[in-house]
Symmetry: C2
Subunit: 379 residues, 2 copies
């Protein structure tokens, strides 16, 4: 039977492998959490968190309250932290045993009100804004808190967090952020300290503190830019050929006819496009692979279709309609694809579409689940 | 209660309005179909098709077999056409009464085999490749078919299709494609002829033939580039403020600190990022709106968060945490946003994320459905 859908394979064994690499990298005494926000960077937060929980991970970070509720339904024991803080859902945080990373006085006050109402001490983290100006308590709020700990009465501050802005580079900002973080954290001696994302984990052990918070490295993106990726690839994405065609010199391809053949050219049209997360910015830039041969994208990526040049494939080895060509896999990583698209691997992963058949495989690359039920587990 | 989720509102009344505008535009005798592939350009194919069916639309185009099956479950009567052709699912096409747009001899032969097996004539369209080299029968196949209609025995060819490559421009290619299409179509006098997408519908009535196939215009994108959009906006997307902060001159924002304040600046961090379809290419380029005031994006868009400059908003009118700022709506269309992101409105729509609360409103802007059930209707 001809294939008519792309197959998105998520190697859970590789996720566990990457978790172990991070554990081995961690400074003595530092634990490794898993960041599974945005549906596990698009790959299925529930499936990934379950397998990491089995592998010993006890701390999970999500962004929103809703993501926390979904994860809690699947995992009873682990700690689940809500990076966006405390908004809008009051008692449900406590009911689902979710720990917010409080990043403003408004959130602290509202959370203290909840503690008073429930008449119990509530666990919380404090999220400090250091040089990034995104979320987190600002300098004045931080000084005020440190000077007057009664502002936290009713709360059990179990963690202090901040976030690197430039740990993907050898920037002086990393040490600067780390030093400010240490100065703040020493005022909360009983709280676990967490600063490092994936980049920070590999940049220096002095940034590790009590808890590493990797995301992208778990999912196989490269946390050591410019050097060999120490992580194992997690995602394979293979797209079905709908049609082959040979065109003559002078003929064009796609909307706006932005590419024209200079000589006789063999094209394969594959059944996936920008609605499936193949960024339109890959038009005339990216490539698919067939038996290891690079097949450049010709013309514009359209909503449901992408056309590639397979002229470099020997005639007797060409794909047929229904064969699957590699977009992400052994020959091209999500980072490589992102590079051609002018973005980062993160955006490639979080934009992977919903029309693929999603298949989860375990350590031994045995198919363990697939199709709608598996993809629905995280969507 | 503070809002912690973006609200994506889809105005079904505007979709119906746009359908009526297209009907009024159509040449005498030409019908108007609806293209609802890619989950109705990301907006919910089932909800949109149901309301268009009530408004009199009898023809729907999807891309894949699976999309056709989903739509058929919701709508019994209308014709449903599968643009990708005939792949992989054999008898299920007939069981769900789906009509493939056959675009190769392989598909024609396989579909004839199915007709023979079922011992009945099966309805089909023929999709002709004219200058675009994406899908569709090539010139040699077309000549062969015209010369020998027995190659279609067993099939009832009810439609002939092709597709404009450059109807968004005043290009000579439009007339060229139309003339070739007419030459081919006259050999299939009993089949309905369909060539025009949204752009074609507004470019010239001579391109209308029997059936218009608009997509983007239904969804409120502009089918007349460079002139006033004749369609009504369908999508509003409003994002919740997580935090306000004032920074001093010299302070920076976000990953890589790619933006630095030249003077004291008031920032709002909103709880949505590239995982929600706010393209990372909008970093330091796009804007949100608050009470009609443009609030530029500062620094990089991150996965879950975007920071905007609200300094232009008078102090007593600033948003508070939980207030919703406009990303798409009255002050900024999906086309405008696409322009800042370096792409087209289509890609903005098909990449709208899954963490928003999706709300469908009817003609009188009454909330008719929302939340998970509504979004699940099409995802």
């Amino acid at each position: 039977m001809l294939k008519n859908k792309g197959i998105l394979t998520i190697d859970l064994g590789a996720v566990v492998h990457n978790y172990k690499v991070l554990k081995a990298e961690a400074a003595p005494g530092a634990c490794v959490a898993a960041v599974v926000k945005a549906n596990g960077y698009g790959l299925g937060s529930v499936a990934i968190s379950k397998i990491l929980s089995k592998a010993g991970c006890r701390d999970f970070f999500v962004f929103s309250f809703e993501e926390g509720v979904e994860l809690r339904a699947a995992l009873k024991e682990p700690r689940i932290f809500i990076l966006s803080g405390f908004f809008g859902n009051g008692e449900a945080y406590a009911a689902h045993n979710l720990i917010p990373a409080l990043g403003s006085f408004i959130e602290i006050e509202n959370y203290r009100k909840l503690a008073a109402k429930l008449d119990k001490k509530l666990d919380a983290c404090l999220n400090f804004n250091i040089r990034m100006n995104r979320l987190g308590l600002d300098t004045l709020e931080t000084e005020k808190l440190i000077a007057d700990k009664t502002l936290l009465d009713g709360l059990n501050i179990i963690g202090v967090l901040s976030h690197f802005a430039s740990a993907d580079e050898d920037s002086p900002l990393n040490d600067e952020q780390n030093e400010i973080f240490e100065k703040i954290a020493k005022h909360f001696p009983r709280a676990e300290k967490s600063l490092s994302n994936s980049f920070g984990a590999f940049r220096s052990k002095k940034y590790h503190h009590d808890l590493l918070r990797p995301g992208m490295a778990l999912y196989g993106l490269n946390p050591t830019p410019g050097t060999k990726n120490p992580m194992k690839g997690v995602v394979s994405l293979n797209l079905p050929v709908a049609l082959l065609r040979t065109i003559h010199a002078g003929e064009g391809v796609g909307y706006g006819v932005t590419w024209k053949a200079e000589k006789e050219t063999v094209l394969a049209t594959v059944a996936a496009g920008y609605a499936d997360g193949i960024f339109r910015s890959l038009s005339n830039k990216g490539a698919l692979y067939w038996k290891g041969i690079r097949c450049p994208i010709r013309g514009r990526v359209s909503m449901d279709l992408t056309t590639v040049d397979i002229s470099a494939v020997p005639e007797n080895q060409r794909p047929k309609p229904g064969d699957l060509m590699e977009l992400i896999g052994v020959h091209q990583s999500a980072d490589d694809l992102a590079n051609d698209a002018g973005t980062i691997g993160y955006e490639v992963l979080t934009n992977l579409g919903h029309r693929y058949e999603r298949v989860y495989v375990d350590e031994d690359t045995m198919r363990i689940s697939g199709g709608k039920s598996a993809s629905a587990s995280g969507a």
